[in-house]
């Protein structure tokens, strides 16, 4: 059970049940869609960018607890950040969930609750879907991104 609790931490369960920044962002300047063909998770990330700063960010979609909580915590973490800071956080987050290299816990803040994901390789894509979609929105890609 202990490693399941590491994966499904209270913060994650809370954000799954009550996702923050959920819903369409009418005044979005950027938007991207993400899709995980393995489990059918889908997410749309809306960004309102002004002079390189993420003034507002919201998401909508459906998915498992990990993907929904990840999108919710991501949007909470990125509001007010610059696009460079967002890109850096993406790298840190990717390192955290894949375990490919040591992530910086100070920089990650609350996002560190996803540290348990690395013990569940099948779930890494769930955790990173929103981030890949964010990346596409920042790059202004029109094509939906997939985790494959």
């Amino acid at each position: 059970m202990s490693d399941l609790r590491d994966l499904y931490q209270e913060v994650i369960l809370d954000h799954n049940k009550r996702p923050r920044n959920f819903g369409k962002l009418e005044e979005a300047t950027r938007k991207a869609e993400g899709y995980n063909p393995l489990c059918g998770d889908q997410v749309t990330v809306y960004l309102k960018l002004k002079e390189g700063v993420i003034e507002d960010i919201r998401f909508e979609g459906s998915g498992c607890a990990i993907s929904k909580a990840s999108a919710s915590l991501m949007t909470s973490a990125l509001k007010g950040k610059t696009t460079e800071e967002a890109a850096r956080l993406f790298t840190e987050f990717h390192d955290l969930v894949t375990g490919e290299s040591e992530a910086d816990p100070d920089e990650l803040g609350k996002l560190a609750v996803f540290s348990g994901v690395r013990e569940f390789p099948a779930r890494v894509k769930c955790a990173s879907l929103a981030w890949h979609t964010l990346h596409a929105a920042l790059e202004n890609q029109d094509e939906p991104v997939t985790t494959e």
């Binding site: 059970m1 399941l4 369960l13 489990c39 059918g40 998770d41 998915g63 498992c64 607890a65 779930r123």
Partner: protein
Amino acid sequence: MITSAEKDHRNLSSAPFDVEKVREDFPALHQTVHGKPLVYLDNAATTQKPQAVLDALTNYYTHDNANIHRGVHELSQRATRRYEEARVKVKRFLNAADAHEIIFTRNATEGINLVAQTYGRKNFREGDEIIVSAMEHHANIVPWQMVCEEKGARLRVIPMNDNGELLLDEYEKLLGPRTKFVSVVHMSNALGTINPVQEIIAKARAWNVPVLIDGAQSAYHTPIDVQALDCDFFVFSGHKVYGPTGIGVLYGKAALLEAMPPYQGGGDMIRYVTFEKTLYNDLPYKFEAGTPHIAGGIGLGAAVDYLQSLGMEGLAAHEQDVLEYGTEALTQIPGLKLIGTAREKASVLSFVLEDIHPHDIGTVLDREGIAVRTGHHCAQPVMQRFGIPATARASLACYNTKAEIDALVRALHRVREVLG
């Protein structure tokens, strides 16, 4: 359930079905996963392999390994004999009229593609209609869409009700002079429904329309008799009948197969080649270009031998018993909804649990040593029909027990504890 079920010529076993004894035949079942005894309930995806199949593979590679056909040396002749014996075993398994109606493919998917690309491309014209059902696996949708797109033909779909049963009245309305082919799944991988294929075939026969039955799921749960069904084509995969991956079967009526152009060109499918012209080989080799999966064919032969030694009727009765037990047990879990509640079904317990995503269910069950599948099961139109993104699916095989259902139920309570 299956009208030909009483055919005793393929039911070689006289011993009663003993699940504990059967379990001993499957080495992979005897392991722990995350410290818990493995409970393998992902059989609709693939089944575990009995020792007899593993031995057949090892024996072939250890003693008989050689390329088949045309070899004059001893090993080649032995390998050829074993491979062709396997074809005869499959012929008996399906009760086909002749072994040359058995084409070895990679899997059920390739069998459907073969028919779509040869029969379909030769015979479909603009405005023609191909009928499939609402509960098809993607493997019985996409190959037809591809040929429809090329030929300007149209895919029509037999709808189903909320239990996951096809509406045969609607099917009858779809049949008509434009109908050129019917391709229907025997047993749904996502819902477990067993379709009344005999009736479906008979109705198509009235319009002189050929019918393909996708038997990927049915072949290991129910006895199959292609002559009694009177289907024109029947496909299944080796790995779902306790055989190896990479080997499958297309059965076709000889007259249809003979009239079809070849699928792939290459060695073995020819009789005579010059740069100007090639004469194609006879059945079944016309459709088996290149060195085939020799070991796979031999392993599949061992698998159908094994199935018949268990006795398909006893096996089906055991699985049905566990399925009913599982249906009853899962229904008791608060918030759990079974998807697929057809009167005629086998093996599959597909479900959703309140607002807990199936992917999360799968992860928690895995930590309890329980293997289920979660997702859309390559049947996205089925998920759309039921308005859900995915299900969790437990699917039974001959070696599953009621005790394993109990373990599943306990673990589902765990799911609610962890994610509740």
